[in-house]
Symmetry: D2
Subunit: 338 residues, 4 copies
């Protein structure tokens, strides 16, 4: 039984709390939030949980083994560092930190202390994302040509970070999980159209040596909600639409047929290219809650000292992409090397 | 009654032929195509039409007043120039020409000869596009923040032009029709992922002085067909999905409410931003065929010597955008001024 | 503060429990279920709640004022009767009872004891259903021609009741809420195609004197989930699709134009009928949880001795429709008077 | 080369004309229509075709071998009889005739004259319908539990026939093609809600000895267009949505798992029923125009004296269903034996 605490009871914290309560191998001892009203609400639902507005109370309690941190991103580094120094395992919301150097320091500190540093890239624990990753790893899609992601909706507006820091961590973590090749450069275009301060809409392109191109459309000012990822491969193509309950993944047996045995280039072009349009299928996907799977994995990693799928290194890779996109925006969409 | 001829009976030519036949004010005399089989097929359906494989036969016939040119884009300039020099009014497929200078020369020539030079930007004659344009012109959307267009499907692959030249003319012509402000720069990112020669996928961004950002996703390698344009305004937002037969346009009364009377910036940010989420409505759209409306407009312009909505200048503005996107691709996605 | 208890912690009970905990005017004292494992699970999440496997323990506790009953329908009458006799207000799951006479007896008993008898017709407390009801009540749809409901999916299979008793109470309660006219007859057709015992698929027709026809398609063996209600009126038509998160209701300004001033019948028919096809709009709908609204209404009714919207009479009207449909099935789809 | 004529150039006639012109083995000599304006329009498009307003002109021309009849249904019998008596092969629009006896007489007459009598059940020649029929015939769906069809939209209103005669022939012909078992009874419920004369909305149920139930929803007063057929089998289930261009057919590997080896009935019920939820796939469907395929088949049947897939017998079976549905309506939804 792992004794856990949650710091931050805002948008995401209640999901962490519920899942720690329901996990049979964890025991949720504490919840911390600066807002007294939130803490009071929690107390009505779950009177058995100790509450505090000072996270250091939690760190001083030796019975706590694991701290889940769901506070604003600017506070991640400080709280996670304190928790690791207090000997606690850490689950850290995404994005992991604001700065690359901070992520690196946390990784080093966790390694030195022999503690688990786990980043909450929740999508990696969904049945849909795992299914696509297995398809790619098994070579069923062939060579990957493009990765095209759209994540747009109206709000939630944030004042301290732009839309890239808010929405792109999801898609960067999925890309990082799917594509083993390392990205080489990032360019980003955005517009702070409404308030003129932080970008509310942005388009990001990530390039790879192989020619693979990844593109991300993130937008807080869209009248409709779209959550769609398309992946084009030489053998098959995939559409992942997270808003369709029963058919999230569609796999298309479509592509081009090329007969490359022909000698002259003209013959290849004029005569041999054909579209291959075959069947589509939509596999049954495991529908259990991602956070439940994730927390079970986290507890298993703590118990058996295993490396998590979404460890500090995965978190760092995402922060590097965010940092590069941010610098590209600042430099007028310049191409920024990673 | 205007005597017309169609040059080029490939993908689009049959639509021109059918519409010239059905228009009560036009008389289709000739069709020209280099492919004898196509001409033969035409002759079976419409034995009353004269056919030729040499377009000069048409230009030499003094009874022909109007020539519609639906040949590969590389031949547009030469055929259109010959037709204008022969004293014919010209309907030219999009994109108008390959080079900016060619478009400019055709405009000058038509002006000198006092002939109509009309570019077939078909979308401008759809009920949906006209409806949105009226909304924008009347100020119903408020300030336009973004114009986001997706036009993707599997093929038709073309060997002489890339996906930008093939698909973006549609969306550039729509943007040109909607946005009176002049664009200042274009950047484009693409990938020739399959064959390594012409780009099969591309993302283009057009910037304006006002901060308005326009983005275009064009892709020949998508397993699904998407034709969706989103326009975000300060008052309302529009989604135009050309694949939904009865509800092509949806207008969302959504946006942000800002109370700017507050003095301190912090107060504006923390307390006064709210989402406005109101009703959506989908107006009834005139459903007549765009090409029918277009040809009626063309004939009216010829008869009464009027300036067409999609004249040579409109064609030239689209060619300038295509040219800038193309140069940006060649320069590694550099930002190209217009 | 109303002291409440929940009897039955199966499929729906956990929603009742959560909402009673979160309601600021209620205090959830007890939960009862025959299954010890379920009770144990509850105890882990909510250690503050007393549990029992014998509902009489709850009835004997004088501090309990309200009992919510979410047990199998065959037990409703007995438990509700006991609860009313013990002086408790009652929230009863739908369908209210198996027999018409039982529903009538509960209504009488509650009246005699001056207790609230409330039936959990949850849909009546959704923003979408309330919006449509307001449209109808205000005459915006004109005369109602038809009410066409489809509620199909794969399972949940039940062994003690057929698909009509399982699914149709939702739609009957909505129809009852929308249509003030009394139904005159019911006919039902069904098939016990898989197991040959209870009907897994059924079609029900309800007729009204005015000519209004209501039709219900309920099916446990559908590969896809459909939750769609269409209402056709002389002025407007409504589609309510409960599976579309942001556009549940669409209101169509469509219908027929009839110029009835013409004298001869033939003229009316041949010349004057035209389709009126106008705009569609989708109003913004209040999105708060229906059960939250419902429980607040229930507590308000208890506190101020008000008549609930979904009182025993509403529950009885639905049981009468179910009973008639059931008898029609047994008589080979005969038309059964109500 | 078969010399053909088309009688009736209203809604469907132009499609017949175009397809006879394009078919390389047919030669369209004549078109007949009572409306001079329509004939004039045809003449502008296709000056090579002879026109008349008297169909007897066509029957008197010995060079005509095949007559396609696309006139109002009340005239089918007379014109088809005259054509067969004049020695012409006949393509007859659906429904074949108004009366069962008329259909039987035409079948006899064609047999006696050794002429092809072909009914235009167009759907039978679509790739989608043929694909589903092949699945059923190969046993992939297992036992068929239900056939559920929805065909609703706004208009076209007809004055001489009700919505069943207008829309149900499509679905009856598909059911007839899929289900080899003979139907035993039909019941129909309808409402003449708008004009009070012909039914604008109707629900029809067809029963079979095996327990298979077929249900049809046809409606001229629906604000939205739906064309959806669901077929539930013991092994697989199919949804055919004719309005989705690229994924018309979806095949679901869903159903129930029953372990019938258990002895007691209670055990079977409580423990052994499970849902089987597997993958969905959408096969690639041949997309050529159905009428093109149909006319090629018709000409092949004429040339080689073959029995057509949609012969007079198929037309008669559909007329029998229409007749039974009509009589059920007249008898207050009584169950009518076939």
């Amino acid at each position: 039984m792992i004794n856990a605490a949650v710091i931050g009871y805002g948008y995401w914290g209640p999901n962490l709390v519920r899942n720690f309560i329901d996990n049979p191998d964890s025991n949720l001892l504490y919840v911390c939030d600066l807002d007294e009203a939130r803490v009071k609400n929690l107390k009505i639902r779950y009177p058995q949980i100790k509450t505090t507005t000072n996270y250091k109370d939690i760190l001083h309690d030796d019975s706590v083994q694991l701290v889940a941190i769901a506070t604003p991103v600017s506070t991640h580094y400080r709280i996670a560092k304190d928790a690791l120094n207090a000997g606690k395992h850490v689950l850290l919301e995404k994005p992991m930190t604001v700065r690359i150097s901070e992520a690196e320091k946390l990784i080093d500190l966790a390694a030195k202390k022999n503690l688990i540093l786990f980043v909450d890239h929740t999508f990696i624990y969904t049945g849909a994302v795992r299914h696509i990753r297995d398809l790619i790893a098994a070579g069923h899609l062939g060579d990957i040509y493009y990765f095209d992601s759209v994540r747009v909706n109206l709000g939630l507006f944030q004042h301290d970070v732009n839309v890239i820091w808010d929405l792109a961590p999801h898609d960067f973590s999925i890309m990082d999980y799917f594509i083993s090749e390392k990205p080489v450069s990032v360019s980003a275009i955005g517009s702070a159209c409404v308030l003129g301060e932080v970008e509310e809409i942005a388009y990001i392109t990530v390039r790879f040596v192989s020619g693979l191109i990844a593109h991300f459309n993130v937008n807080w000012m869209s009248p409709v909600k779209i959550r769609r990822l398309m992946i084009g491969g030489s053998k098959k193509m995939v559409v992942f639409d997270d808003l369709i309950p029963d058919e999230k993944i569609k796999i298309y047996d479509k592509g081009l047929l090329l007969d490359l045995k022909k000698k002259s280039k003209d013959e290849v072009y004029k005569k041999i290219i054909q579209y291959r349009i075959g069947d589509m299928y939509s596999p049954k996907i495991e529908s259990s809650e991602a956070l439940k799977t994730e927390i079970a994995h986290l507890i298993d990693c703590i118990k058996h000292n295993k490396k998590p799928t979404t460890d500090g290194e995965a978190g760092l890779r995402v922060v590097k992409l965010l940092d590069a996109a941010h610098r590209s925006l600042c430099k007028g969409s310049a191409c920024v090397k990673i």
